[in-house]
Amino acid sequence: MTARGLTLVALTALALGCSKAPRDGEGPWIAEAARRHALADERLAAGDRPAARAELLAVVGASVPTDVPDADSRGVLQDTYFRLAKLDLDARDPRAALADTDLGLSYGKPADLFVANLLIARGAAHEALGNAPAAAEAYHQALAINDRLLAETLGDKADDVPGEAP
C-alpha cells in the first residue's frame, strides 16, 4: 500500500466514524445538511465531482439558525469542510484543500474526530505542497487526538498514555 493510500485509509475510517443519519427531533438545518451530504454521495457515485462540491458548498453557505447548538453546527460544518478538502485533494488542488481546512478549524479545535479529520486533510495538503514539516505537525496533532480518544474509550488514566496532551 502506498503512503498516500495509508493516509486515505485513515481519512476513510475517520469519515465513517463521523457520518451520521439525522435523528428524530433534529432541527431542519441539520436535516437539510444531511440531505445535501446524501446528494453529494450520489453525485460522487455518478462521477460528478463539481455537482457534489456544489451540494457541500450549499451546506456551508447556508446561515445557521440561532437555535442550533454550537457543538452541533460545528460538527456539521467541520465534517462538510473535511469533505470539501478531500474533494480538492482528489482534484489535485492542495491550496484549496488547505483553505477548506482553515475554514473548518476556525470553528474550534476540541479533541474530536471532526478536528482530527481536518488535521489529516491539512497534513495531506501540506505534503502535496512540499511542506513536509507542516504536514508532519498536522498529522501528529491528529494522532494525538486519536490517542486521547483511545484513552477515553479504554478508560485509561493519563499516566498510561505516552506523549504530550494534544
Binding site: 503512503a3 475510517a13 482530527a116 505537525e137 483511545l150 479504554l154 505516552p162
Partner: protein, 119 residues
C-alpha cells in the same frame, strides 16, 4: 442495571456492616437463627459485591472503536516516520516520529490488554 444492583448491594452491605461490627458482650446470648441467616446473607452480599467489582474492572470496551482508533494512530505514525526519512537529521519531524512510534506501540499494547487484539 449492573450499577443499580451494585448500589443496592453496597447499601445493603453497609447496613449489614454497621450491625455486623456492633459489639457483642461476653454475657450476651448466642445469635438467633434469624441473626445467623442475616450473617449468611451479609457474607453472600460481600461475595457478590467483590464479584461485581471484579467484573466492572474487566468490562470489554467497544473493540470496533478501539481497533479503528489504534489503526488510525499507527497509520499516522507510519506516515509521519516516512516523512521523517526524507528530512535532515535532527529536524522537528524526528521528535514527532519517535513520539508517534511510542504511541502506536502503546496503543497496540493497551488495546490488547483490554481484549482487543490486533488482527
Amino acid at each position: 442495571m449492573i450499577r443499580r444492583v451494585a448500589i443496592a448491594a453496597l447499601l445493603l452491605a453497609g447496613c449489614a456492616s454497621a450491625r455486623h461490627e456492633g459489639p457483642q458482650g461476653p454475657g450476651e446470648p448466642p445469635p438467633s437463627s434469624g441473626e445467623q441467616d442475616a450473617e449468611r446473607a451479609y457474607d453472600e452480599l460481600r461475595r457478590l459485591d467483590a464479584d461485581l467489582l471484579r467484573s466492572d474492572a474487566q468490562v470489554t470496551p467497544d473493540c470496533q472503536r478501539v481497533d479503528q482508533l489504534r489503526d488510525n494512530i499507527c497509520a499516522l505514525a507510519a506516515r509521519i516516520c516516512q516523512i521523517e526519512e526524507r528530512q535532515p537529521a535532527g529536524s522537528v519531524v524526528s521528535a514527532h516520529c519517535a513520539d508517534s512510534k511510542a504511541r502506536c506501540k502503546s496503543a497496540i499494547e493497551r488495546a490488547q490488554a483490554r481484549g482487543c487484539p490486533k488482527k
